[in-house]
Symmetry: C2
Subunit: 668 residues, 2 copies
């Protein structure tokens, strides 16, 4: 019979390490954090018997040779915990070492024996032995003191002195400084953490169509016009400006206004039908301008604190240069034509999808990567990826990692409105942020359940929701019927529920809510197929309201993260209440929104005061950052009333008493 023992000394390693968090699929994917985050690592660490355990968190940035170490603390029931701070963009990894601490066991047991009045003669000798065996590995600075402990334990005639020395913290520290790790166990996986810059989690997006940016009605907008519009975007407080594709638009099978199958001669076509004689994914649509114009736009935006997000739509119009140059990258039909995109019976004849099962797939992957690198090289660091779920998952995992090798600060937003497993996988494999079902979550139970799932469930480690009340593809019926109040409440929800949010404007702030036909979520006369001209200075514009909400977002750090989001009871189904707070409790934001866009609603809000750091016996101030009104609240239950015709929401900054009776934070 073949007896196989575990290799070498591993049979003597008695400590087990289990259930480490944060982790995603046992380390197959990275948990996500941003620079400056404290990562809280928890694990179950235990051994057979009663011996004392020493557990060490090991972590490093992948670019570092060296591991850093910090001790884990026992927090009860075999759970141990430690934290470390991630200070650089890129990939970290961490794991845990743990071992039986023979000295600590001895010292702990000696304590109990002494307390029980046992004779400890032999125990003191055991201790001397343990210290002596340990000497070869300790630093020179500890050698002499430890030798003195050995002598004392072995030779002193004064038992109380011996015991005092044996139980001393000084001895413990010196022994702990170089613990005996020969039989140390290591958690078998180094778990990855992907660290982004703060914008990976906290960013405020604005989308508009460059070709509608001209100040002259009927004239095709240019990148120069976009540059003119930057101050308008900046004043509203957005920090990412996302532009639909700016590449040449195909002519074959071009779609007409309102998605008509046949375009008229002067129809401009869908920007997502990418590629024409003038070029493909690395070219700029001549009517928009040149690469030089694009560089100027980027630079002007940067000066205003705005990044340009590039739309990455990996698909081709029939006249894209790839089609002739690489017929293998597309699926051929028996009649010699190329298979256009479809979801039968729907047909998208103006778009050819790539065939990710192509025999030439490696060249295809390389070329698509080169598109990302081309724009990254121009200074673009934010990519909004169109329909990533209709391209191979393996490709995205590879491509995102490849881009991040050269541009570690790159951010990818997945535009995948599809099934949960698919959206979840895209987030796991590397997308920094994801569009969500938020657009279709309008009632209190829907919002509560969905946001709780996203921020408290397993997804919290890898799925960063980016909430959009509207997009060029989605004009939700709530917006169609909710009027001005509906737009305001939806933006407050997006902006306070999630660290990342965005709107498609100027339709949004101008209150454009007419669908193509009743029951449709498509905009009438959608910019997807035609130019528009927008009166951005219209007095009814929500631009100042949006600016105020975005300033509140910027100024309140609790809104830069989602992990603290908690919903609180209100005895009115039309009112929703939730809070966010910073880790140190220094910033607490309580938002209340009236979900009924037509009627005044009121009710009693119930706040968990101790969780929010409030002394329940003292009043606290609720400062509505939207209206600038201040209220003195007392106890957990307080009354709120919101009139949708003035302001459908309150964003309260909770100001609590600090230190002494004469010093209230809210007097400062």
């Amino acid at each position: 019979m073949n007896v196989e023992h575990p290799h070498s000394q591993s049979g003597r390693s008695r400590v087990l390490i289990e259930e480490i968090t944060p982790q995603v699929d046992h380390g197959r994917f990275a948990a996500k954090r941003v620079v400056g985050d404290r990562v809280v690592v928890r694990a179950r660490v235990f051994a057979d018997g009663h011996d004392a355990i020493h557990a060490m968190l090991r972590y490093r940035h992948l670019a570092d040779e060296q591991w850093s170490e910090t001790e884990l603390d026992s927090v009860g029931n075999d759970w141990w915990q430690a934290t470390f701070q991630v200070q650089k963009i890129g990939r970290y990894e961490f794991t845990i070492d743990a071992w039986i601490d023979r000295f600590a066991t001895w010292q702990r047991d000696l304590h109990k024996r002494v307390d029980a009045g046992h004779d400890v003669t032999v125990d003191l000798l055991s201790g001397a032995e343990i210290i002596e065996e340990h000497l070869p590995v300790v630093d020179s600075s500890h050698q002499q003191p430890l030798k003195e402990y050995v002598s004392l334990l072995r030779e002193s005639n004064h038992r109380p002195t011996q015991i005092q020395a044996a139980l001393s913290e000084d001895l413990a520290k010196r022994m702990r400084a170089h613990s005996d790790r020969r039989f140390s166990s290591r958690y078998p996986t180094a778990l990855p953490i992907e660290v982004d810059r703060i914008q990976g989690r906290f960013s405020t997006w604005y989308e508009f169509f460059p070709r509608s940016a001209s100040s002259q009605p009927g004239q095709h907008g240019t990148l120069a016009d976009c540059r003119e519009r930057l101050p308008y975007v900046a004043e509203m407080g957005f920090d990412i400006l996302y532009l639909p594709p700016i590449h040449p638009i195909g002519r074959s099978f071009r779609k007409g206004k309102n998605n008509a199958v046949k375009a008229l001669p002067d129809d401009v076509g869908s920007p997502w039908a990418i590629g024409a004689a003038e070029g493909g994914h690395k070219a700029i649509h001549p009517q928009l301008g040149t690469i030089e114009d694009f560089r100027e736009l980027l630079s002007a935006a940067r000066d205003l604190g705005i990044e340009i997000a590039m739309d990455i739509a990996f698909q081709c119009a029939p006249d894209h240069p790839y089609v002739a140059a690489h017929p293998d990258w597309f699926r051929q039909r028996p009649d010699g034509s190329i298979q256009y995109a479809e979801n039968p019976p729907k047909k998208y004849q103006d778009i050819y999808p790539f065939d990710f099962e192509s025999p030439d797939w490696q060249a295809l992957w390389d070329e698509l990567k080169s598109v990302l690198l081309f724009w990254a090289n121009e200074g673009v660091r934010v990519f909004r990826v169109d329909n990533p779920h209709t391209k191979s998952f393996a490709f995205w995992e590879w491509a995102i990692a490849e881009v991040k090798k050269e541009y570690a600060d790159a951010i990818f937003l997945a535009e995948a409105f599809t099934r949960p497993a698919v959206m979840s996988r895209l987030a796991k494999l590397g997308f920094s942020q994801s569009y969500t079902y938020f657009t279709w979550r309008n009632t209190k139970p829907e919002l509560t359940e969905y946001l709780t799932e996203l921020t408290q469930g397993a997804a919290r480690e890898f799925f960063r929701p980016n909430l959009w009340p509207n997009t060029p593809d989605i004009l939700n019926e709530f917006l169609q019927f909710g009027g001005r109040s509906g737009l305001m409440s939806r933006y407050v929800l997006a902006a306070t529920l999630s660290a990342a949010c965005g709107i498609y404007g100027p339709t949004f702030e101008l209150g454009v809510v007419t669908p193509r036909e009743p029951g449709s979520e498509e905009y009438l006369d959608s910019e997807k197929y035609q130019l528009q001209h927008w009166h951005i200075d219209a007095p009814e514009s929500l631009r100042h309201f949006i600016a105020r909400v975005n300033r509140i977002r910027r100024e309140n750090p609790s809104l830069h993260d989602n992990s603290s989001l908690r919903f609180h009871p209100v005895d009115n189904e039309q009112l929703i209440c939730y809070s966010k707070q910073t880790e140190d409790g220094g910033n607490v934001i309580v938002t209340v929104v009236n979900l009924d866009p037509h009627h005044v609603q009121s009710g009693w809000v119930d706040l968990p005061l101790s969780c929010l750091g409030v002394d329940s016996t003292q009043p606290y101030q609720m400062h509505d950052l939207l209206s600038e009104e201040r209220y003195l609240w007392h106890g957990s239950r307080n009354f709120v009333q919101l009139n949708p015709h003035t302001a459908p929401a309150s964003i309260f900054c909770l100001r609590k008493r600090v230190r002494s009776e004469s010093q209230f934070e809210y007097f400062l």
Copy 2:
């Protein structure tokens, strides 16, 4: 820059497989099943885009070269499911293959196109192409028919015939028989399933001390006396008889009656202080008999359908032969003595623990394994392991696997009353069953929460609870004060909540409930330290009640498994109600227990009729298998009343209407 693509063709594999169950720690450990079980495998299987997927469950017994395959079915939201039956003891493994089914995609889309009235000329040619490309891999029986389909799709002038053929189930079947799996994805882990014989899950245990089995008071019982007692055990319906250690007992530091530190000359010592001049773990205590007596006991037990469970206590009395032969296996103290077991300030001077950090650990492991194999070779297949949590986890994982290599039908019960993480790990690493906290769970919320956690939580896959109302170490206070009714209700709970249960007798059935002192859970004059003589024929014995409960267990297959356990509301906190049912719903047991041992309690039970397969508009019969009384119930809410002085529980067999009005199951 170094561009690494996924290897070979894997970039063309577009299907993902996630979240497979059953699995324990991503396949690090095996899920547990018994022979005959249907294993339900679920996973999320999905790809980019809209293509049809073909998913195949692969499974095999490790002894088999060949894998078996069965198709998974889509059950919605990207979940897929299949089942396979485990028919042999030992280790199975399973995984999933999945791939894009190009033909199925084509056929599905053609259907939609035809329905939409599209011109399908080119689509039919595409189909012909797909079939033709597929011909090289299909069986000869399909070759000719498939070629005919190709001709028809290519050449027929009759469109309706072409479409009918293209959409035919016959064509689909022939194509599906040898699907194109070139770009198949495989779940990266083969997940293990450990299959035991039915007793691994369903067994009824009885423990008694052989030395108290003599029919003569004051006389040391023998294995021959045990043989005499077998019919008594068999009549009560137990199928595993567990004997505390039967090895020679050490003399040095022997404990006296009631755990006195000094034994008197005629004290018999604790059977767990194993080893003396007469031998160690492979020897039999001379006062109990010889190895021949043991063989006869085994054989006689087997004839009565009883297996003997050996107590495996890996520790030594100071006079165990190992101590002299292998001083390296123990921890030496500086005074030349050996470190006895202790949990300071408690001392167990009669026991030396093995040192699992010994440099000679490999020889130690081998020797301990040889103990298990020695008794397995004598015919023992059930091992009750004493305090496994004070021996190295790695050792147990190795040793159990080693024993199972030779004796696949071996069963191990872990006696680890310790912290949850430790108990859980022991179950994962191979113990077939585990003692639990049941003894200390006496109220309705405690029982409901704990059993729900064990049977519905993650533990359900690997932790098989064995419920004991008492053990020689635990006389719970509920038993001390609950009287006869308390004993009865605790046994009914153990026997109906869990497929595995046991009692320590004859103390249990004879109602011996006096503790050593108030507040102690130790028995007064415990058999752990002295002989006892039991009047097993005493008229007040619960033996007939226990026999009835055990017969109910045997005859009702729903009680042989825990996965269907569900608790049901009763509007009285002293009454607990729960049900179990077989997978086919053919056997439904509803148990109601009065947890108050002193007072009559009554209340309204609320059953989820549709879950139990009952037509809520029709009456159904509740047959109390304990009292043999039958009740006609109607609707979900019904009245129950239990008098602890007669019977503190009802074990109802729910008999529902079957087939037609004139044929009630309960008339049969």
